[in-house]
């Protein structure tokens, strides 16, 4: 492949990534913002491909596009009475500072890195290399990450099961049925608890 193809791909993908990122800032709708984020992530995956890092690229799509964005959508949809728009916040100044610092750090690393030619086996042996470095060199961060995720998982389950008692009403009444007790007492129904039923006027609205 010629340099021309690479350059074309790089500039197109960079435009896609940055364009998507800017649109996240501009769009007022959180769902739209997530969709733009997905576009940005796809651009980054493409950039990885131009770097011959196909494993990372595919994992980027798998994790960020397929899972993280979906989780974000899930979180937006499940957050009760959340502002569904990209509203103004009071902490935009500190947030901007943090972003600036992160950007400086990233650029410093980017400039500092030796972007030499790809070593042999990088394309075919990538998964193996990553696996080996995770298990050998970076075992401690890897394990810390694993423990952290497990803790998060347990915490999420604990939070989700908190209101168990008023959740599966159906299962409880069913169990009572099976135990031979009539869970629906006719007396309860004879004096219906919802005495005043709301009406929508009988018109098709």
């Amino acid at each position: 492949m010629s340099d021309f193809g690479f350059h074309l791909a790089f500039w197109a993908l960079a435009a896609m990534t940055l364009g998507g990122a800017s649109m996240i800032l501009i769009s007022r709708n959180l769902i739209h913002a997530v969709i733009w984020l997905v576009m940005s992530m796809l651009g980054i995956a493409g950039l990885y491909l131009t770097l011959s890092a196909d494993f990372i690229a595919v994992v980027q799509v798998l994790i960020y596009v397929g899972a993280i964005s979906v989780l974000m959508l899930f979180a937006i949809m499940l957050t009760p009475r959340a502002e569904r728009d990209n509203s103004q916040t009071k902490i935009s100044a500190p947030a901007g500072l943090v972003v600036l610092l992160v950007m400086i750090a990233t650029m410093w690393v980017a400039v500092d890195t030796d972007w030499g030619p790809v070593r042999d086996g990088a394309l075919t042996e990538q998964a193996r290399l990553i696996g080996e470095s995770l298990i050998k060199h970076y075992i401690l961060p890897f394990e810390i990450g694993a423990v952290l995720l497990t803790a998060a998982l347990v915490g999420a389950i604990a939070l989700a099961r908190q209101d168990e008692e008023d959740g599966p009403v159906h299962a409880a009444s069913l169990q009572a049925e099976l135990d031979g007790e009539t869970s629906i007492d006719p007396a309860d129904v004879i004096d219906p608890p919802l005495a005043s039923e709301p009406s929508d006027g009988g018109t098709t609205s």
Binding site: P186, V189, I190, D191, P192, L194, A195, S196, E197, S199, G201, G202, T203, T204
Partner: protein, 199 residues
Amino acid sequence: MTTQYDATAAMEIVNASAPGAACVEDGVLYLEPALVAEAIESLRDSEESDLIFLCSLTAVDQERHFEVVYHLQSLDLNHILAIKARLTDREDPTLPSLTGVFHGAHLQEREVYDLFGITFEGHPDLRRMFLWEGFPGYPLRKDFLQMPGQIRAGLPGFPHESTENAWPVPGSVPQRPQHPNDPQPPSVLAVAEDGEESS
């Protein structure tokens, strides 16, 4: 075979718990409208009558009064009893609701309210059921949509018969079952317009 439950026996049961609530006319048990719920509850709970199943609840417009008709059935003893209550106030017919006694009365009372305009006091959700809120009039009343010349609804006679057999109606035109070519009274059109509007 289902037997008819003796109305006199039922009257005694009712009057034991709600004195003066029931009387028997021509072998039919009539209830005092204000005490219908208590009376029927006593019939439901009594071991002898055991009328635990509400077969049917409906009303008849007897022109001078409304008659609400209950058919109650005992499943184990297999007898049935028709009970009636007369409502003489045509302007605002009111009756206690039976929903506290029979959950199955819920929809049937709503139906009677919808089509006859009889109010059931204590009904938790008394709204029109088949027709929309604001529908003018109550269709199953005999005076609903009176024909020009004050002809009441109904079939006065068989088509081949002379008008002698028809109901005596002053200044009537010969009536026949509804036909699309018959001129429609204006109120019918008004109903249709209203329906379009509120949908």
